[in-house]
């Protein structure tokens, strides 16, 4: 899907990000009674103290993982629209396995939690991939449908059968303290998970650009027919990219639970699936560019949250922010010199 046309590419990313930024600036006076103050806190938000900076980096790390999930999917030429459900399932899977085995020692428990989250996300996405491989079921729609049905199912589980009746929130019980990831920058939420995220970004880069499977995945993503003529088992790559993508999303849910949430609260991972798409597109589906892309996006989002901190709009503003970025990020503001027929 990505086509490199450096100048135009850079320009459209610039437009997307500045459009989102402008929108925030325009909205501030309407929402806030002290626009000047809100604006200042928006711009300096993450850098006010170690606490804010730590939380900012923690959030950016989770979003980077979600972005990485979409990089894998886009590079393989597949659309995984099920991120929301995959993150949520990963979070619930991790929480449940650690609630069932509360007496595990710390490190093995964390590892089992991570693997469970990864597998639950991979399984959920893998179902869509499997049907695409087997019967050519459109994965864009099927992954969305499956994920949405799971989001509602988990919402129900968390508010009903799995609910901890002693907590005020609609939430499962908390996992044992031994399973919490060590904090790097107390009192913020920034934890060891960020190192795993950086390793995964590096690993994804190695996988995509320095391994034969990664090469085949990219070639299949660029042109399925060409890949087929080249002897690549194309059908396998109807399954692999989306499953890897689901695994990353699941892991993101898992890291959220181990590092910050400690329990699956209703809607706790909402928005991460869509953010992943926005970030992967800002990064033009390159693994290393995920780092600046997730920082920029998190900054914008933190700004939005900051601006509306006194009203109950965090979900709505998050959604509009994602919408503005997504709307412009793939646009091409310069016309290519030669008109290519059949180009998207």
């Amino acid at each position: 899907m990505p086509e490199s046309r450096p100048v135009s590419t850079f320009f459209s990313i610039l437009v997307a990000v500045s459009a989102a930024f402008l929108l925030l600036l325009l909205l501030v006076p309407f929402i806030s009674e002290t626009p000047g103050k809100t604006l200042a806190s928006f711009l300096t938000g993450p850098f006010r103290s170690a606490y804010y900076l730590g939380n900012f980096l923690h959030r950016a790390g989770l979003y980077a993982l979600a972005g990485l999930a979409m990089v894998l999917s886009f590079q393989g030429g597949m659309f995984n629209l099920g991120g929301e459900g995959q993150v949520y399932t990963g979070a619930l899977g991790t929480t449940m396995v650690l609630l069932i085995f509360p007496d595990l020692p710390g490190l093995p428990g964390i590892l089992i939690g991570l693997v469970t989250g990864l597998l639950s996300g991979a399984l959920l996405a893998g179902i869509s991939g499997f049907f695409r491989m087997k019967w050519n079921t459109d994965e864009l729609i099927s992954s969305f449908l499956l994920s949405s049905s799971l989001v509602y199912t988990i919402d129900y589980l968390v508010s009903g059968p799995l609910r901890d009746s002693e907590r005020y929130l609609l939430s499962t019980p908390e996992i044992a303290a031994a399973f919490r990831l060590p904090i790097i920058l107390p009192p913020s939420h920034l934890n060891m998970g960020i190192i795993l995220v950086l390793l995964l970004i590096w690993g994804t880069h190695r996988f995509l650009y320095h391994s034969s499977v990664g090469y085949e995945l990219r070639i299949t993503g660029l042109n399925r027919e060409f890949a087929g003529y080249g002897g690549i088992p194309v059908n396998r790559y109807h399954f692999l990219p989306i499953t890897l993508s689901g695994a990353m999303y699941g892991l993101a849910g898992s890291l959220y639970i181990l590092g910050m949430g400690h329990a699956t609260v209703q809607g706790c991972t909402g928005g991460m699936g869509w953010n992943g798409i926005a970030i992967a597109l800002i990064a033009r589906t390159r693994p290393f560019l995920i780092i600046p892309a997730s920082l920029v996006f998190t900054f914008l989002e933190a700004g939005a949250q900051n601006a509306v901190v006194h009203s109950d709009f965090s979900f709505e503003f998050g959604a509009i922010l994602q919408a503005v970025v997504l709307f412009f990020v793939t646009a091409r503001f310069f016309r290519p010199k030669i008109f290519k027929k059949g180009a998207k």
Partner: protein
Amino acid sequence: MLHSIAGIMTPFLIAALGGLYTERAGVLNIALEGLMLIGAFTAAAVAGLTGSMGLGLFSAVLVSGLGSYFYATTALRLRANIFIAALAVNLFAAGFTGIASQAIFSTKGVVRFEKFPVLPRFSLPLLSEIPLLGPLFTDQSVFVYAGWLMVPLFAWILYRTPAGLRIRAAGSNETALVLRGVSPRRVRERATVISGITCGIAGASLTFNLGAYVPNITSGRGWIALVAIFLGYKRPGGILLVSFLFAAAELLAQNAQGIGNIPASLLLAFPFFITFIGMVVFSALHTSLLKVIRKIR
């Protein structure tokens, strides 16, 4: 039974008919859900404040139509990825309706209106006396009948008029259109606006049927409409049949709630799940059918 099915299927049927045009013109329109939601909200706001159903419907069509025009022209002219742009429309609709609802009615929750117009229901004289099929034409709302009428109308336009020919050509043979001096991009833009208009009608039908506005009132119906287009073999008649089946499944689920004591919150998952199953079963049948045909040949 049949009576309720007709009511349930109408929103997806109407939205899917418009979506069919974009699909045939070569654009997979995943923005149906968002366009429907915007239509539903506009209809509720305008009809609730003015008390006029006609004005509510008109503005729903206007806003969804303009919205789809903006989205289609921007995305197609800037050659943005159309799925991503459509995704943006869906996310925008979800965020915007929440904020607008708070701004206009000071609540993000259910909005009830004092002078909300009541949706007129009536029976069609002769048709309602047909054995078996009678309930489909008895005591139904205007929207149900509009849906019935739109199926042959949309089929006629698609297969028997130059405009329909252009829509089909934009999807199947772009070069032919270019050689005739017609811009495929324009055809796609217009098809998307038509889908915006039908989504406006479909959204309005949801609000008027309920007599109130509920957040996220569409709850996946746009996606069901999209799947109905595929499963209906991209034909108006097929869409009618698939919408009927989905509505029957939804009714069954609603009834199961009473018997099996299924909690209401879990029921929200059901339309998505049944649509997913429908999609998988269809593609499995379709693939094996293709294999059989190949063997015979």
